[in-house]
């Protein structure tokens, strides 16, 4: 094997970098995870198998007329993740249901110490979301079967 003179190469690279002055900031991957964990969790919760497991693991009350609705199933998955989440406060960004936008951006929780309190507030949010879903259901023109979220 021929020597590639690694240390010399690194020294040259460092000199070269020094000449470039102050570097621009580069977003950290961990920041993206934090910013998006709940909105991606919503999208990711659409996987059929995972949804099935969620149903088995945790019962979140949803009125019977909404059972089987893909959006409600997604919300349930989201709520489960929120309940088990350790990172709060959190902000949920917009999620898209076909061409209709369900705006979760207003859901923002302050730091809460007790799980019971957290669940109570979450249940209120579920009720709010269900109302939004009902409105969407009432105006379903583009998506008659209520399935097929992105």
């Amino acid at each position: 094997m021929q020597d590639i003179h690694y240390n010399e190469l690194i020294a040259q690279i460092n000199q070269d970098i020094a000449k470039k002055g102050e570097l621009s900031s580069l977003m950290d991957f961990e920041d993206v995870k934090r910013l998006n964990i709940y909105s991606t969790a919503y999208e990711e919760s659409l996987a059929e198998e995972e949804m099935k497991e969620m149903h088995e693991r945790r019962e979140i009350p949803v009125r019977p007329e909404f059972e089987g609705n893909a959006l409600v199933r997604g919300v349930k998955g989201l709520i489960r993740k929120l309940i088990t989440a350790t990172v709060i406060p959190m902000q949920l960004e917009q999620n898209v249901w076909n061409n209709k936008v369900v705006d979760f951006s207003k859901i923002c929780f302050g730091k809460m110490q007790e799980d019971t309190e957290r669940i109570r507030i979450l249940e209120e949010k579920v009720a709010e979301l269900e109302q939004k879903i009902q409105k969407l259901e009432n105006s379903k023109t583009e998506n008659p079967d209520g399935e097929g979220m992105v």
Binding site: Y6, N14, I17, L23, F29, L35, E44, A47
Partner: protein, 355 residues
């Protein structure tokens, strides 16, 4: 005597599957009666390549089972309770922590794998580890039987096939192509490749492209987050070709100027050897088995600083003398992975420990 190769699954074209088929070929050459059994058998393999593990025959004390271990499986317990000679080929298990926030199933499988590996520590007569790193893993898990290192057998004749012409034409367009090949899973650290590429593109070469080849399951959370990262950090020219043919993979190696690996866990890392064979100069971060697979070839980095990695990509692309040295070293290392050399080693180890 007969030798049975056993594995939870045998797939078409993956490292474990190729290793099993190569071992079968060597056992056939030695005139030893042998068969492959697995729980899951890839449909793309020729009919009769392997039988269902449910049909595992009765074995005498003189027979031997070569078990290919890489995950949690019911077969770990079946192997551990066999009364014949028990030989394990250890391909490594990814540390579960990598999957913790992304894939519950993979996380649990890896946890189970480690528990079962530990259970097998005093129930295995002989081990073959595909790298020195894997050997040390076995020792850490409490294995006291003899352990030898035998690299994975790679069917190089497959790599002499014609690469896909459409990829060669499309990607030989004056852009500098940075390539990584590997499943889109968190231990491969695609985010670190993307960060280094972002710096290279911004500070050294805007006319550059990152190609990330590798399979991923539908709904892969890690890949979704990588895509979000690329979008939010506004990094341009990052390509996930998705499911592509072998000829297309060959073509991507051919058009690549640098193979960049930032993986933090590899039991061997077959793509490094593929890059060596196909003449793509390698830059790789020193983690797990990467250093032992390179063994002085490529450029082994002791830092993940994206700016320094970007600088190294620039050096390798622009400095013809450096590039030639790297390629010469890779060619020299490749000689250690020839079928003839590994087959001879395997035969010798079998005679010493199994036959």
């Amino acid at each position: 005597m007969k030798i049975i190769q056993l594995a939870p699954g045998i797939s078409f074209g993956d490292a474990v599957g190729n290793d099993m088929l190569a071992m079968k070929h060597i056992l056939d050459e030695m005139g030893i009666e042998n068969e492959i059994y697995a729980d899951s058998i890839d449909d793309r393999l020729p009919v009769g390549t392997a039988k269902s593990a449910e049909q595992l025959p009765n074995l005498s004390k003189e027979d031997a089972v070569i078990y290919h271990m890489a995950s949690g499986s019911r077969l770990n317990y079946i192997f551990g309770n066999l009364k014949c000679k028990r030989v394990m080929v250890y391909h490594n298990i990814t540390p579960p922590a990598f999957f913790e926030h992304y894939d519950e199933y993979a996380y649990e499988q890896c946890c189970k794998g480690y528990e079962e590996l530990q259970w097998l520590a005093d129930k295995t007569d002989y081990c073959l580890a595909v790298s020195e790193y894997n050997k040390q893993d076995l020792i850490r898990m409490g294995f006291t039987c003899p352990i030898d290192v035998l690299p994975i057998v790679i069917p190089f004749e497959d790599y002499d096939k014609e690469p896909a012409e459409n990829i060669l034409t499309e990607y030989r367009d004056g852009y500098t192509n940075i390539l990584f090949v590997g499943r889109v899973v968190p231990n491969k650290k695609h985010e670190d490749i993307i960060r280094a590429f972002a710096r290279y593109q911004e500070y050294y070469n805007p006319k550059s492209r990152l190609i990330l080849i590798g399979s991923s399951r539908k709904g892969n959370k890690y890949k979704n987050r990588l895509i979000r990262y690329i979008q939010q950090a506004e990094i341009k020219n990052v390509v996930f070709p998705g499911h592509i043919s072998f000829k297309e993979i060959l073509a991507f190696y051919k058009v690549a100027d640098v193979f960049l690996c930032e993986s933090e866990h590899e039991g061997f890392c077959v793509p490094l050897v593929e890059a060596m064979y196909l003449g793509t100069p390698i830059i790789a971060y020193d983690a797990a088995a990467v250093a032992s697979t390179l063994h002085g070839a490529g450029i082994l980095m002791d830092t993940k600083d994206p700016m320094i990695t970007a600088g190294m990509i620039d050096k390798l692309v622009k400095d013809e003398e450096l590039k030639q040295t790297v390629l010469d070293n890779q060619k020299e290392r490749l000689a250690d992975f020839t079928y003839e050399k590994i087959a001879a080693q395997f035969k010798e180890l079998l005679r010493e420990h199994v036959l």
